[in-house]
């Protein structure tokens, strides 16, 4: 029983690590599309985290908004501006 509690916590921890890691990638990438991809990954993992934290409504909303719409409008914005971070 102890083992499975530990396993669940480890799973939880890995998801959080993924969230923070992809957020760091957003900072790191100079290429804006890559940063958008990292942001989408971050949003999707946050949605999973909401799922784990028993908030299904919020998880659906976050998946729909964070993954679908924010990425779409970010892509539109990148398309209509220059597209690469200069420095």
């Amino acid at each position: 029983m102890e083992f499975f509690t530990f396993l669940y916590d480890a799973l939880h921890f890995m998801v959080l690590f993924g969230i923070v890691g992809s957020a760091l990638l957003v900072v790191k990438f100079k290429d804006l599309v890559s940063a958008t991809i990292a942001l989408a990954a971050c949003s999707l993992l946050v949605s999973l985290e909401f799922f784990i934290l028993q908030a299904p409504d919020v998880a659906i909303a976050e998946a729909a908004v964070g993954a679908g719409l924010t990425t779409a409008i970010l892509i539109f914005a990148i398309k209509s501006t220059r597209g690469r971070e200069e420095y």
Partner: protein, 164 residues
């Protein structure tokens, strides 16, 4: 905006009605399962984004969309205002157990066991005004998100198509 390959287009055509129905399902069951007006609306809005990106063109009229949006909001506020007639603002005036249609009884724990519950935790028509508000919000969100996507997409991709 150029359309994508026929494969994506065909898949979009096949799955369009299904995703649309799924969004409506989420909206309608907002009081029973996770989701609600916003979530279902966001799913359908994203479906419109899928349509836009797959077909590269849209023929929706902005005017119609904004009318739909206003209607949704008006229905929402109007439902709240109708609550004034019997109680207070946003009073659930057709809920309650004595209403024959919308006020169906919850299942008092007979159907629902000790583990989980089935696709519906209660009858569909047990929420009074909440369903109506969910639908109104769903309508509004669909229209608003579609407007956002269409406006920004056309702004981004109109005119200069990247050397194709």
């Amino acid at each position: 905006m150029k359309e994508m390959s026929p494969i994506v287009k065909t898949i979009t055509k096949i799955s369009f009605a299904a995703i649309f129905l799924f969004g409506l399902y989420i909206i309608l069951h907002g009081h029973l399962t996770p989701g609600g007006g916003f979530q279902g609306g966001a799913i359908i809005g994203t479906l419109m984004a899928l349509y836009l990106v797959a077909f590269g063109a849209v023929k929706w009229r902005k005017k119609v969309l904004s009318i739909i949006e206003s209607t949704g909001l008006l229905v929402f506020i109007g439902t709240g205002l109708l609550g004034l007639t019997t109680g207070y603002f946003f009073f659930n005036f057709i809920g309650g157990t004595d209403n024959p249609i919308f006020g169906q009884q919850l299942n008092g724990g007979e159907l629902i066991g000790d583990v989980a519950f089935p696709s519906n935790s209660a009858p569909l028509l047990s929420s009074g005004t909440i369903s109506i508000m969910n639908m109104a919000v769903g309508l509004e969100v669909i229209a608003a998100l579609t407007l956002i996507i269409v406006t920004m997409g056309l702004f981004a991709f109109a005119g200069s198509e990247e050397g194709e």
